[in-house]
Symmetry: C2
Subunit: 613 residues, 2 copies
């Protein structure tokens, strides 16, 4: 029976089934770095770490394991072990912060993956007999004979490193071997193999989202995200490339932190799903081109300066162990091919999952981030470009900007000519700052209310506009200090508006140049796909109002969430989808905006806000 469980303090509601443990129910959460509740013992009731508190509603009666690990006092206060307590009805459950690795809200679930599982790896259970003079066959020989006789597989190889890791005289039992192409990549003895799993990763400059997927059913067993640990070496991509270029040691370090991060992410996902890494037999990584290169330690000098070319745009297959990923011994990590220096495998994955490559008519696709990748598809022709839209929509470079975490203003409604203002914050907390969608709403609302003019200038005579004494910058007060969560006024200022103008102008100019190059106008667009975390949360009316998105009827828009993550999962699950992704990467035309004088002109025009209709 389906019931709703609300997790505190995030206030996240998930649909769970009665009979599930709380840990299992928590896997439905999509928004925590740890990918749910951390259970170091794998949910076996051994470590007592997955301590949660029942706030409202009911759970199964506590058991002996919980009594032993929590004690009577904690039980009486409502504490439970998430791996033992069973969902019996609706409940509100508090997860103490210490068992969550972090609290940043990430967009991990998009439109959902819909693909027939057809994974690149196949498992076979091979019965083994003891080796004897009458049956003089070693373990691998028995595997060879069995696969040839029963499955017609005669063209096999074994990962050379795996050969010696298998006991030659294993004796009676079973070995589960995994075949990828013609290579045997995994061997698990005596029923310890559970189900074949895969790891899909959307590798962004800021966020790294991971999905642990059941390769047989296609089900996502756990999702999680981490901040890209390379942030320590620069928020922007160019700083990180520059760091890597300082020397071998620096490159090792910046690649190493990312590899370590991926390793932890995989570990946490396995923990959350209660599985072991040896069952994870394939990884797919879709990332922007710079992250792709920095992960693989490819040459990046040419990526850091014009014309910003990738070292290569072929798919890369590398043993996962060579990236430090501890999964099945011979598992392969597949890196989705990039298109250009600023159009990466994540863009390819986005196109795949949103179906842009096979859409009819004219489709515009935007994956909005620090760099915004835009694709214009007419029938089967695709042309992409990338424009530097900056980090304003992630809350950076905004005076009181913040990421989309608790306390961030995420929705703004301007009324009464700007004299009144309504807003929502994430988690319903007192406003501590403003995130991308909030800034967008605020600018659009203030523009429509006339508080901002078409050049983006704040009306200094407006009653809520003032000059910040120290900074001589005009600002509009969104939330006065007495109502805020930060003991100071939450404002939006003239510079913030300029940042938004720069960002929206880049996106709009990119779109227009693509259209011009293709001989089309905005009116010809049949469908607009808006992808990415910010793209999913933004209010379309606001984005249209400031001229970031084309002025089309709302029904032509589709906000698809983390389409790159969805695409990565499709590529993980299906060989057909993988082929298709490679075709997409080859087929996309790339427009280098830096090489086009008309881009600069259009960009300058687009700094203005459009006429109010």
């Amino acid at each position: 029976m389906g019931v709703t469980i609300e997790f505190e303090p995030a206030g996240l509601r998930v649909e769970a089934e009665t009979g599930q443990t709380v840990i299992q129910a928590a896997r439905g959460m999509f928004s925590f770095e740890s990918g749910g509740i951390s259970a170091p013992c794998g949910g076996k009731g051994l470590c007592g770490r997955c301590r949660v508190r029942l706030v409202e509603g009911e759970l199964s009666p506590s058991n002996d394991t919980e009594l032993k690990l929590l004690g009577e006092k904690e039980l009486s206060e409502g504490y439970r072990l998430a791996c033992q307590a069973i969902i019996t009805g609706p409940a509100k459950i508090e997860i103490p912060p210490e068992i969550l690795a972090g609290r940043q809200k990430l967009q991990l679930e998009g439109t959902g993956v819909s693909v027939l599982p057809e994974p690149p790896v196949s498992r076979y259970n091979v019965p083994l007999e003891p080796t004897s003079l009458d049956y003089p066959h070693s373990t691998w020989q028995q595997v060879e004979l069995f696969l040839a006789r029963n499955h017609g597989l005669t063209d096999l190889r074994v990962d050379p490193g795996l050969i010696g890791r298998v006991e030659p005289l294993a004796g009676e039992g079973t070995v589960t071997v995994t075949v990828r192409g013609s290579e045997i990549i995994n061997a698990i003895f005596n029923g310890r193999a559970r189900k074949p799993l895969g790891l899909a990763v959307d590798l962004g400059s800021t966020k790294v989202a991971g999905y642990l997927v059941d390769l047989e059913t296609g089900a996502t067993l756990a999702t999680g995200g981490i901040l890209n640990p390379q942030i320590a070496y620069g928020e922007d991509v160019i700083s990180r490339l520059a760091y890597a270029l300082e020397g071998e040691e620096q490159y090792d370090r910046i690649a190493g932190v990312l590899r370590d991060g991926l390793g932890r992410l995989l570990h946490d996902l396995c923990d959350a799903a209660g599985v072991v890494p040896q069952d994870v037999e394939e990884a797919v990584i879709a990332g922007n081109t710079a992250m792709h290169h920095l992960l693989l330690k490819l040459p990046v000098g040419q990526l850091a300066r014009s014309p910003y070319v990738p070292a290569l745009t072929l798919p890369v297959e590398v043993k996962a162990r060579d990236l430090g990923l501890q999964m099945a011994f011979g598992a392969v990590a597949y890196l989705v091919p990039a298109v250009a220096g600023f159009v990466g495998g994540d863009h390819v994955a986005m196109i795949l999952s949103s179906g842009i490559h096979e859409s009819q008519g004219v489709t515009l696709g935007l994956d909005i981030g620090t760099n915004t990748e835009i694709v214009l598809a007419r029938d089967k022709e695709m042309l992409s470009c990338s424009c530097a839209s900056g980090p304003a929509f992630e809350g950076a470079h905004i005076y009181q900007g913040m990421r989309a975490v608790d306390g961030a203003i995420s929705r703004v409604e301007v009324a009464d000519g700007g004299r009144e203002l309504f807003y929502e914050t994430i988690g319903g907390r007192p406003a501590a700052g403003i995130c991308g969608s909030g800034v967008l709403d605020a600018v659009a609302g203030l523009y429509r209310a006339g508080v901002i003019n078409y050049n983006g200038r704040l009306d200094a005579s407006h009653p809520r506009v003032r000059f910040n004494e120290g900074r001589k910058v005009a600002e509009y007060v969104l939330v006065p200090a007495e109502k805020s969560g930060s003991d100071r006024d939450v404002v939006i200022n003239q510079k913030d508006i300029s940042e938004i103008q720069l960002a929206k102008a880049a996106i709009a100019a990119g779109t227009k140049v693509l259209l011009a190059k293709t001989g089309l106008t905005e009116r010809d667009i049949d469908k607009v796909i808006v992808a990415g975390a910010f793209g999913t949360h933004l209010r379309l009316e606001s984005a249209i109002a400031i001229g970031m998105l084309p002025p089309l009827p709302l029904e032509r828009f589709q906000q698809v969430g983390n389409a790159a993550g969805d695409g990565a999962r499709m590529i993980l699950l299906s060989k057909t989808a993988r082929k298709r992704a490679e075709e997409i990467a080859r087929r996309i035309g790339y427009l280098e905006l830096a090489a086009m004088p008309e881009f600069s002109n259009t960009f300058l025009q687009e700094l203005r806000f459009p006429e109010i209709t």
Copy 2:
């Protein structure tokens, strides 16, 4: 024009072409460890090391390089540089021992390879343009585009380690890339690629023979051999396995010396052919099962004790660099699959090159060595076994035995009831001892002359038979000390005869058990293939006389030389041959003689010599 060149002191004749240098002509020699004349500078006339002496006939007049490096005195004595002197007609040329790595005679050329080159690697020359804003493509991107557009190759990968070894902005020029399957394994810039080469290796316990092959024409450019450096850890296979089993460090060491040896062999072959290792793009290694395992560092515990099973019998493909072989960066070493613990990839290669797998009627194939592998083929059915024939035929365990090197008695003719004896030695030198073919002839001749009876006992009353005073062992004097090259009588003694009885009994019993198992008799055999160095040099009449080979008309026998080496070259050159080798490995039935009581009985019977007919 073809002329004959005789090389001293080996007395080897090769067919050469006028216009070739002496070094080039020497590559036709097959019998030296160094694979010809060692030329450290690569035959460029820089080092002066390849000093040879013209003994008879003529060469081109000496040039300035020779004058500079040899001086007038040496030139006047007939010394020349082998890299400078040109063949102009027949000649006899002396090669000083110091420029030959060793002097052991190895059987390297067999029946000769006859196979249509169809190598697993293909080269493509890709024209490159400078990367610019108008042409924003890196080197790999240009390769990708070129191969897709001009060769329809769209499913490529690059060896991950190779990606970063290529300059991303190579600029104008050409890059030659090599594709293996769907993987790019090599990239050579600006015409430095010469021709694609391959390395074939016949990896024996005692001898390692290497062939450097032109993958386009199939020509063997250089051949060479080394003693297996593992001999230092035991002449026999079991001692080496035992050493490897002592611990990780020991295994590293014994695998390491072999890998190092292969590396030196490759290096010497490249030197001899005047080529660079980066052009060597594939290696094929056919070895006995123990050598195969010890090279790859596979588990060997199970190989050292009954039932002696290999860790695996699938083909192994490993990056050559992981075996320490410095060839093209991404080159693969392919190890021919084994059949059983004592039936290795060399046996498979032997069957392939001698065509046993597709012969009509009944064919018996023997590769005689310390272990003798025997295959019995009836139409397409093949059954193999291995028997421990011991090292007697390599001169070991024979009182005055020696390898087939200069001074070894290699042919013996017994006349006048054993009172007279004629013999030949290798190189025509005074007799220093006796090698395998000589021992075989001597035993056969003495048996036919009645000096040895059917039980192998020497007739103590024979005038040339005496008792060695110190050792109380009957012996027959082959060469008295005054005529020998060793200041002592060269003899054959009762123990030597026993060794030959043990060896021949093992081979004969193996053959008979195979026949019995297949419901055949010796008379049903249509063809007998005798392979291996000893097998090629032995006198068939002698082998038949002592009962080692079946008593069949001589025209049914074929001595095919180093058929394993030939097979290795075929597998290197042709994907079809490779497939066929894998089929052979799968199809061969294996008879474990140790599991068959009838083998012991037959063996005991076969210790006797057959009736003289």
